[in-house]
């Protein structure tokens, strides 16, 4: 057990791609936590999907030992966090487990939308903040100007900001010293009853459920009988360890320490992030306040392509949810798709990530239905219903009005792209609330309907600004508007999974875009296929996918049978990624792609 004064706990926060994970690499490396030969770039981004996309999705913690200049060795627990707005919940959750934050700012980019959002969260969590200016090796780096920007835009003192290059390792020793000198040691009482925060949990195929905790008071040891206070579940600790980042056994953890345990946990539902863990026999009387639950904002249905895989899907979803408290699910049935789940996400990237992880880590082929936000349906009898799935919209004769969620979007953008950004926001039914300048960058605040934002707003924003804009948003509330359900008919059959709520004024435009997109996405069949968008039986847009006219191999002799057969096998495998609607096969990817608009 380590003395409190020799412990420092902190998160590394920043806008996406500003170099958090690379900085974590250097801290791990310089302290010799991981053998040189085991080092690799963004070591903590261990999921395939993180490595492929080059972004952090899950917060990751690691314990390092640092012999400081004062002659003492300190235990540092760092948590590397994701930068993308969809994973902001990971950041806020992580911050509750530590006392300080390294705020990384890319010195060639300056302050961006998530820089701001993260600072506000850190201040909320009472954190001591150490600003770090990264990427000073880049010719475009302007550390002095960015310092000023931090002071002007964020309003925190940046005079002691540390200039570094996480890539080359320049300035890393200064960061380590600053962690020890400038961040506060944790507080806690080792004689008090055990009080530990359940920070995270995940499913490991060898170890079962692994729980990550931060001890506040008391001491936890291997063999202890502990209780999860919210769920009431009681378990004996099988294994206690710290992450270096490999799991390394430890005899006990005291106040201020961060570690993990396993306890033969059967019920995945027993572990809830934010819960307080205490001893069964001598419990604490003051549980921690818990985390504010994440509010999913985008919903969609996930169905197994092979209906026999429903149980596997349930199992996979439960295990994934354990690792991601911001993702919600409930069972759903659909006439066309059978049994599946209606799932809630923090954004579209979050949705894609979860779907990808289910497909890869659990090897289940999925159909994803059109994502939707949550509408409030005010019935004529005065009751209010939440609508997660446009297919469930009640008969409109009983509906008085519909409300949709709105957000406050903050966008930072260089001057020259401001016009494009304003146009984009205007096109998406936005109402401008604020426009200010910090140097040559504009900060625009817009009130926007969430349903115009979740699907492709971020992609569009990036493309109209060549990647120079950054974006953050918060939910603000609900507002009534003229919203209708748009249905899509393929070969004259309604495809529920493609219905969506739209603003009446935008319906024709979206209907047309949807039909055109589907025409590209659905492969040609042996017959021609009408694709229509309709509102309450009235067709508002129509495309026709012409019939396949010719698809035959001209030469096929003895030597070609094998090749031809393999081709067919491949096409059969491709077919598994299709879903049959009447006589038409729709590729499962179409359900999301059809919603992304090109303008």
């Amino acid at each position: 057990m380590t003395e409190l004064s020799r412990i420092r706990n902190f998160s590394i926060v920043a806008h996406i791609d500003h170099g958090k994970s690379t900085l974590a690499d250097r801290l791990i490396q310089l302290t010799g936590t991981v053998a040189e030969r085991d080092m690799k770039e963004q070591l903590l981004d261990s999921m395939d999907i993180e490595r492929e996309r080059g972004i952090t999705i899950k917060a990751n913690s690691v314990r390092i030992e640092y012999p400081a200049q004062d002659g003492h060795t300190y235990i540092l627990n760092l948590i590397d966090t994701p930068g993308h707005v969809d994973f902001a919940y990971e950041v806020s959750r992580s911050m509750r487990a530590v006392e300080g934050s390294l705020l990384v700012v890319d010195a060639s980019q300056g302050v961006e939308a998530q820089t701001l959002a993260n600072v506000y969260q850190a201040i909320d969590a009472d954190h001591e903040i150490v600003p770090v200016l990264n990427k000073i090796d880049l010719p475009a780096a302007e550390p002095e100007r960015v310092k000023e920007q931090i002071e002007d835009v964020i309003g925190i003192d940046a005079s002691d900001a540390i200039p570094i290059s996480a890539k080359s390792g320049l300035g890393i020793p200064d960061v380590l010293e600053a962690i020890v000198r400038r961040l506060p040691a944790p507080k806690g009482d080792r004689t008090a009853p055990l009080k530990a925060m359940l920070v995270d949990s995940w499913y490991d195929s060898y170890l079962g459920v692994v729980v990550m905790i931060r001890v506040m008071d008391g001491i936890i040891r291997k063999g202890d009988r502990i209780k999860m206070m919210q769920t009431g579940a009681v378990y004996g600790i099988d294994r206690l360890a710290v992450l270096k980042p490999a799991m390394t056994d430890i005899a006990e953890l005291g106040p201020g320490e961060i570690g993990v345990f396993t306890a033969s946990i059967k019920q995945v539902r027993d572990t809830r992030v934010g819960d307080t863990i205490t001893h069964e026999k001598k419990p604490t009387d003051k549980p921690l306040p818990g985390f504010k639950p994440a509010q999913p904002v985008v919903f969609c249905g996930l169905f197994p392509v092979d209906s026999n895989e429903f149980d596997d899907l349930r199992d996979a979803i439960e295990k994934l949810a354990l690792n991601d408290a911001s993702f919600s699910y409930e069972m759903e049935t659909s006439a066309a798709l059978g049994f599946g789940f209606r799932c809630g996400f923090l954004g579209l990237l979050h949705l894609e990530v979860i779907r990808d992880r289910l497909e890869r880590e659990y090897d289940i082929d999925l159909i994803t239905t059109a994502p939707s936000v949550v509408y409030h349906i005010h019935m004529k009898d005065g009751s209010v219903e939440e609508l997660h799935n446009p297919a469930d919209l009640p008969d409109m004769t009983y509906v008085d009005h519909i409300e949709e969620p709105r957000i406050k979007a903050t966008i930072l953008v260089p001057d020259e792209y401001l016009g494009d950004v304003l146009k984009l926001c205007q096109d998406r039914r936005g109402i401008q609330e604020d426009l200010t300048y910090a140097g040559s960058r504009a900060m625009v605040v817009y009130d926007l309907p969430l349903n115009e934002v979740v699907f492709d707003f971020y992609d569009r924003l990036k493309s109209v600004t060549k990647g120079y804009a950054s974006f953050d948003y918060q939910m603000t509330g609900y507002r009534q508007d003229y919203l209708v359900k748009m249905q899509v008919l393929v070969n004259d059959e309604p495809v529920d999974a493609l219905s969506m709520m739209v603003h009446r004024d935008r319906a024709e435009m979206r209907g047309r875009a949807m039909c055109e997109k589907l025409k590209e996405l659905i492969p040609r069949h042996m017959f021609k296929i009408p694709i229509q968008a309709a509102i309450g039986g009235r067709v508002i847009a129509r495309e026709t996918l012409s019939a396949l006219r010719k698809d035959v191999t001209a030469k096929c002799y003895g030597g070609d049978a094998t090749r031809k057969k393999k081709l067919l096998e491949k096409q059969k495998a491709g077919k598994k990624k299709m879903r049959q609607f009447g006589k038409v096969e729709i590729p499962q990817s179409a359900f999301i792609s059809a919603l992304k608009m090109d303008s």
Binding site: R549, K550, D551, A554, K555, Y557, G559, A561, K575
Partner: protein, 389 residues
């Protein structure tokens, strides 16, 4: 009652691959190579060794056909062809209608050898005419002129019992009128077998690369390709040479017996570099394959290492897939009783009914046939039929 092995309903043939050509045509993805020097004696020894080997398991059978394919087999020394055919005849009994085809390029050099090939036992030639005008022949990278080809054809007809030729259509800038005229000229020659292929742009060929670079203008779009196909069906039909297979037309009775073995899922031996075979032994159907590179094959035989020779049992599902994908190319279609005996499970009745409703297939008694329309969409028909195995 002991039932006859399935392959007997297709027949038994021997395919022999000659992998050399005088130059490589830009559209061709066959296993064909241009070599400076070819030691035909070495090749003879190797072919004879392979024939002897193949005879070990099958010498009790009656051989229906031999096909010299390529490459350009008309570059083989007539002595070589004779030696091979002698060996074949002394290994197997041959059927009464024994068919021996040789693929020939229609140039004067080759025509000079026709008589010797006939004397060796070749009784059918298939000539690579490809086009009947010089501009298009040049565009296809062929070495012969249209006049050369016609002269070679005359010689062939005077020499062999049966002559067929190949044309490639749906060429660059070819209009339906162009094709109708050209096809009518071909049909006016009064032959009883024609192979008419729509030009396919294959990966890994010069045309493939040019096409990918956008430098192969004037290829037909789908609508034009279908119009050209329709003309082909109509003209050959009225000339008495209807399509009996996707790209093959014959006066009834004049079909290529050898190629029918493939399409009817018979057994055939594959001899030579990159040759594939299908062979049923003791009730198990095998797929055989040899190395594609001529040098590797020759080495493998002469050193008796036979590295890269493959003989793998064909699972029932794959056998069934092949049976359909080959058989539905034929106008005569397939026998569903045969299919059911081969396949792990019968075809889905609902899918069949759907395809019949769309005019893609016809079912009568237990015969399943593609319509002309269905044959044009054969890949889609197969995808529909072979869903959830």
């Amino acid at each position: 009652m002991s039932t006859a092995p399935d392959w007997q309903q297709g027949g038994f043939g021997l395919y022999l691959h000659w992998p050399f050509c005088q130059s490589k045509c830009p559209y061709c993805d066959f296993n064909s190579h241009v070599a400076a020097r070819i030691d035909q004696r070495l090749w003879r020894d190797a072919f004879l060794a392979e024939i002897a080997r193949a005879g070990r398991d099958t010498s009790d059978r009656i051989l229906d056909t031999v096909f010299f394919g390529g490459g350009t087999p008309s570059l083989m020394d007539p002595d070589l062809v004779a030696a091979i055919l002698d060996a074949i005849r002394s290994t197997w009994r041959t059927s009464n209608s024994f068919e021996v085809t040789l693929e020939a390029n229609p140039s004067s050099i080759e025509a000079a050898r026709f008589r010797a090939y006939r004397d060796a036992g070749v009784n059918r030639v298939s000539m690579g005419m490809q086009a009947m005008n010089d501009d298009d022949l040049r565009a296809l990278g062929r070495l012969h002129s249209a006049a050369d080809a016609l002269r070679a054809f005359d010689t062939a007809r005077a020499t062999f019992e049966r002559v067929s030729f190949d044309l490639i259509y749906a060429r660059q800038h070819q209009t339906p009128d162009d094709w109708r005229t050209e096809l009518d000229r071909a049909l006016a020659l009064g032959l009883d077998h024609l192979s008419l292929y729509q030009l396919t742009i294959e990966d890994g060929t010069a045309f493939g690369a040019r096409h990918a670079a956008g430098k192969l203008p004037g290829l037909p779009d789908d609508d034009r390709a279908v119009a050209l196909w329709d003309i082909t069906q109509e003209r050959t039909q009225s000339a008495g040479l209807p399509a009996y297979e996707v790209s093959n037309h014959a006066r009834p009775g004049a079909e290529s017996r050898h190629n029918l073995i493939y399409w009817r899922s018979g057994d055939w031996l594959g001899i030579g570099p990159g040759a594939h075979g299908r062979l049923t032994l003791d009730g198990t159907r095998y797929a055989t394959e040899t190395p594609r590179a001529p040098g590797a094959w020759l080495d493998g035989v002469s050193r008796e290492t036979r590295e890269g020779w493959e003989l793998s049992p064909l699972p029932a599902a794959e056998h069934a897939t092949e049976f359909l994908l080959m058989g539905l190319r034929l106008a005569e279609g397939v026998d569903l009783d045969r299919y059911d005996a081969i396949a792990p499970r019968a075809l889905d009745a609902q899918v069949l009914a759907g395809l019949a409703g769309d005019g893609m297939i016809e079912l009568d008694n237990r015969r399943l046939r593609t319509t002309s329309q269905g044959r044009l969409l054969l890949n889609a028909v197969l995808r529909a039929l072979l869903v959830d195995d």
